[in-house]
């Protein structure tokens, strides 16, 4: 934990903090669990700082040096992190909902299970970053660099990846929706991504529909529907009536050939 003196200085803002840090270059910085909401930390030097579970929600942390920092579990929802340097930072399970990470540098950052839903990552450098099991729902990664990044089991529903660099990206087990936008000529299926079946119901009328994407085999469809029918009967119902329809849709995404 940070001592009271360090807390007092950081709450005065980045100018005072950076001046103090310049005089104390070997001081160990640890703000684990600290509540730093309401502070102004533009251009702050938090290189190699320990910031586990610290709360920076809504804070202006733009153009900051957070390289090699430990931000495990930190709360950064709706923070302004644009142009900041997170090179090789640890952001495992960090909360970054709606955060602005435009033009941020995150090469080799560890973002496993981080929540980046609705985040702005336009032009961000995420090369070789590890985003395993991260949430990127509705986030904007336009022109972001995801070369060599690990996006295993990532939720990419509604994610905008227009003009993103995806050279050697790993999308194994990741799912996406028809609203996900890919760069031109990029085939997510070839990189391991898939579309999950969608389940829609109209609760009051005794009916619902299940949409199976083309990766689901006829046998898997049959087994799923049979199991649902068996389960409904086990619940006390008589059974289901099932109609199937094969749909061919024109969708706004690259053609997969």
């Amino acid at each position: 934990m940070a001592n009271a003196n360090q807390r007092e200085i950081i709450k005065q803002g980045s100018t005072q903090w950076n001046a103090w840090r310049e005089k104390n270059p070997t001081a160990k910085i640890d703000f684990s669990g600290a509540d730093l909401r309401g502070t102004y930390l533009h251009k702050i030097n938090l290189h190699e700082a320990t910031l586990r579970n610290a709360n920076f929600e809504g804070v202006k942390l733009s153009s900051a040096d957070l390289s090699h920092a430990d931000l495990r579990g930190a709360k950064l929802n709706h923070a302004d992190l644009s142009w900041s340097d997170f090179s090789e930072a640890v952001l495992i399970r960090a909360q970054l909902k709606g955060a602005n990470l435009g033009q941020a540098k995150l090469p080799h950052a560890r973002l496993q299970e981080a929540d980046l839903s609705d985040a702005i990552l336009v032009g961000a450098d995420l090369s070789a970053a590890d985003l395993t099991k991260a949430k990127l729902v509705n986030s904007s990664l336009v022109e972001a660099d995801l070369s060599w990044a690990n996006l295993t089991n990532v939720d990419l529903s509604g994610t905008d990846l227009t003009q993103a660099k995806l050279k050697h990206v790993n999308l194994n087990g990741s799912s996406f929706s028809s609203r996900t936008a890919w760069p031109q000529n990029f085939d997510p299926f070839k990189h391991g991504a898939h579309k999950a079946a969608r389940f829609q119901k109209s609760a009051n009328h005794g009916d619902f529909s299940i949409t199976f994407d083309r990766e689901v085999s006829p046998d898997q469809v049959k087994r799923t529907l049979t199991a649902l029918g068996d389960f409904f009967r086990a619940c006390g119902g008589i059974g289901f009536e099932i109609d199937t329809e094969l749909q061919v849709l024109v969708v706004e995404e690259p053609t997969h050939v």
């Binding site: 905008d160 028809s178 199976f212 006390g236 119902g237 008589i238 289901f240 009536e241 969708v251 053609t255």
Partner: protein, 61 residues
């Protein structure tokens, strides 16, 4: 967003209870509660459709 267009093939299964009273009664409530819990579990554990479809299903037992 990308303005490229492509063709997507998918199968839609429309499922309806044979008796609407089943759906509104205890059978429907139990069915909906359990399928909601399964969906929640799948979301929390990041399980995807393909993984679930590959698992043996014995919900009725």
């Amino acid at each position: 967003m990308s303005d490229r267009k492509g063709l997507l093939t998918r199968l839609v299964a429309r499922v309806k209870a044979l008796l609407p009273s089943d759906w509104r009664g205890k059978a429907g409530q139990r069915f909906r509660r359990t399928t909601s819990e399964i969906s929640k579990f799948a979301d929390e554990h990041n399980l995807h459709g393909r993984e679930l479809a590959d698992e043996p299903l014995h919900l009725g037992e």
